[in-house]
């Protein structure tokens, strides 16, 4: 008898809750909320998930009841304590509906506020779904869901660009000291402060008279600022393109430290090592009607081969038989030189004096850049030495005296002839 009452009570319980015998069993008493040990609700969509600091935007979270039984009295709730640094501007707990049937989904919307000073990264919205397994709301369950959102920098807010990089002088050669000017522009929509522009100066470059870190106190949106570095290039530096790393550290509008880095190239040009090694004039003394050779020896003391080498001589129209000779390639190295010859044929009518010949060496360097260098060579045209050992002045004087004597004699004969005729 003593156990009869208990037996009747069990039978009665089974009769009153015929369906619950098939549902997941719980040790909880009616009215208590138990964390579900199975997944009845899953997130099937959340949009948007990309946020910028200081954003206030709505996020729609779609949740599906993946279980084969309905959920009753469903509501969603966000625990603000666990959500930090994310903030929500409306009700944290939202009622969804009386019954969410099996495989049915619902969407819940929250207004999210991302604080200004939030660092970029992934943050989670802690969403708790509460429901009852019984229509009368007796056995309650909850499931904790996490929705990940990505907080990135707003490109419209923080953007600093190196809009122009120039060097003074424009062309840099080994051994040069030059100024490197970097023009920065705040392309973002907010002010940035305490900008530090660091240039990574490595050998063969070195910084002279200025720091490799330059500071700008602040830059308003759209404002430009220039940083200048004084740099010396080693004399032995080979000609090539050198890479410089450039880092910008600054504080954004919310006083967060930001960093931006990039790189650019500086081209060190080949120092012109082509020169005229020797000029030989044969014969060494030129006179009107002289013939001979003008030999120009061109050497390449650079580190690279030079091509399309042409030697042109200007200003020698009355002296030379040709004005341009083609050499071709001259390889680098101390012993490598080429000699080109120009025929000399001095105009018989040429004026005596010094003639300036402009000797130009034209060539293409290793970068394919056309280069030219010129040198003045002075060729002296002297009077042809007379076969008679008398100076020109004396000869002229003798000629004038002879002419005068001949003319005087002629006059005398004519005068005598006139007198004779009159007689």
């Amino acid at each position: 008898m003593r156990y009869l009452g208990l037996f009747i009570a069990i039978i009665l319980f089974i009769n009153v809750h015929p369906a619950s015998s098939l549902e997941p069993q719980s040790a909880t008493s009616p009215g208590e909320i138990e964390t579900a040990k199975y997944h009845q609700f899953v997130i099937i969509n959340a949009s948007p998930i990309n946020f910028y600091p200081s954003d206030i935007r709505s996020i729609n979270i779609t949740i599906q009841n993946v279980y084969n039984y309905s959920a009753f009295g469903v509501s969603a709730m966000i625990d603000e304590g666990k959500a930090d640094p994310l903030k929500f501007t409306d009700h944290l707990q939202k009622y969804i509906g009386n019954e969410i049937g099996p495989k049915n989904s619902f969407t819940v919307m929250y207004d999210v506020y991302i604080k200004d000073n939030v660092l970029k990264g992934i943050y989670y919205i802690p969403l708790t779904i509460l429901w009852s397994v019984q229509e009368d709301g007796t056995v309650q369950r909850q499931e904790n869901l996490l929705i990940g959102i990505i907080v990135t920098e707003n490109p419209q807010d923080i953007k600093i660009d190196t809009v122009n990089i120039t060097t003074i002088p424009e062309h840099i050669k080994s051994g040069d000291e030059f100024k490197l000017k970097v023009l920065l522009k705040n392309m973002g929509s907010s002010r940035i402060n305490q900008i530090s522009a660091g240039l990574d100066v490595k050998a063969p470059f070195s910084s002279v008279g200025s720091s490799t870190e330059q500071y700008i106190s602040e830059m308003e949106p759209g404002q430009s600022a220039e940083v200048i570095y004084n740099i010396l290039l080693d004399k032995q530096a080979p000609s090539m393109l050198y890479n410089f790393n450039f880092t910008l550290d600054f504080k954004d509008y919310s006083n967060r430290q930001q960093s931006q880095s990039g790189s650019f190239g500086i081209n060190v040009e080949e120092v012109s090592e082509v020169y005229i090694q020797d000029i030989t004039l044969d014969p060494t003394t030129l006179n009107p009607q002289s013939e001979g050779l003008l030999m120009v020896k061109v050497a390449n003391a650079g580190t690279n081969e030079i091509k399309n080498v042409r030697v042109a001589v200007f200003g020698g129209e009355k002296l030379l038989t040709q004005t341009q000779n083609f050499i071709g390639i001259i390889r680098p190295g101390g012993g490598n030189s080429e000699t080109t010859s120009f025929g000399v044929s001095v105009d018989p009518e040429i004026d005596i004096g010094d003639y300036g010949l402009n000797i130009q060496i034209n060539y293409d360097d290793v970068n394919g850049q056309h280069r030219s260098m010129s040198n003045l060579y002075i060729a002296k045209i002297s009077e042809a030495s007379s076969t008679i050992p008398v100076s020109d002045e004396t000869l002229n004087a003798i000629m004038y005296v002879f002419l005068f004597a001949a003319m005087s004699y002629g006059i005398f004969i004519l005068v005598g002839f006139q007198i004779n005729k009159n007689k």
Binding site: Y355, G356, N375, L414, V415, G416, I419, N420
Partner: protein
Amino acid sequence: MAQNKKSISIIIIILYLILLVPYIIASNAGESGIVIESQKMDIKSLPNDMQDLLIYKNYSYNIILIEDPATNVNKLEGKIAKERKVVLSKETQEKGSFVRIDDITTDIFVTSYNLIDQPFEKLVIGDINKAGFGVVIETINNYIEQLNRLILSDVFSLSEIITVSKVDFYGGGLLVILVLTIFSRKVVALWNIPAIAAIYSFQIFLVVIVSFVNKIYVDETTLAFAFLFLLALPLAFWLQRYEETEDGTKKIYGLYLKNNEILSKIKHKFGM
């Protein structure tokens, strides 16, 4: 009639003397010419090899283009032009001035450098100064320019005046003597001989004066010849009067016969 001849003779002599002046001044100023263009110049803008020619590299230089009205140059294809020179000078002169170049350190024929955007034949480095009596050339040049503006043409030029003056320098003296002789009803006269010497000596005397003013060296022979007219001119006057006299005519005729005699002997000796 005699009065007319005298007047014409005086006019011819004056014309001859006036025409002498431009050529003597223009051709005896050394490296000289009329300033055509003048600019201040930054030495560093010159090609390196040109900079090397400058002795005083810290001075400020002027680049001056001048045209020598008395010197012709043979250009290519048989063309002749007046010689143009580029002068690099610490001093400068106004356009149209007739200048000479002193203290020349470089004087070379150069055609292949573009220094002043105009062609030139010579590069001279020195100090540019006003040439002695240069005002005469400048005045003539101004008159020519005014005349050309008046007739809206470039028919006349200074170089043509200089050419006429040059012809006068070489042939004008002989022409004057010939005209004066013809006026004395003769084709030639014995006084012509010292007169020719006197007239050319006087021309050289003028050349020497201009050269001295322009500090140009004159050798001793030229200097001696320049003063020969002081002897030759009185001799010409004396001879002109002497050969008009009967005694003079007789003596000249005697000399003429003696000359013929010597010539005959020479001919005979050589079997002619």
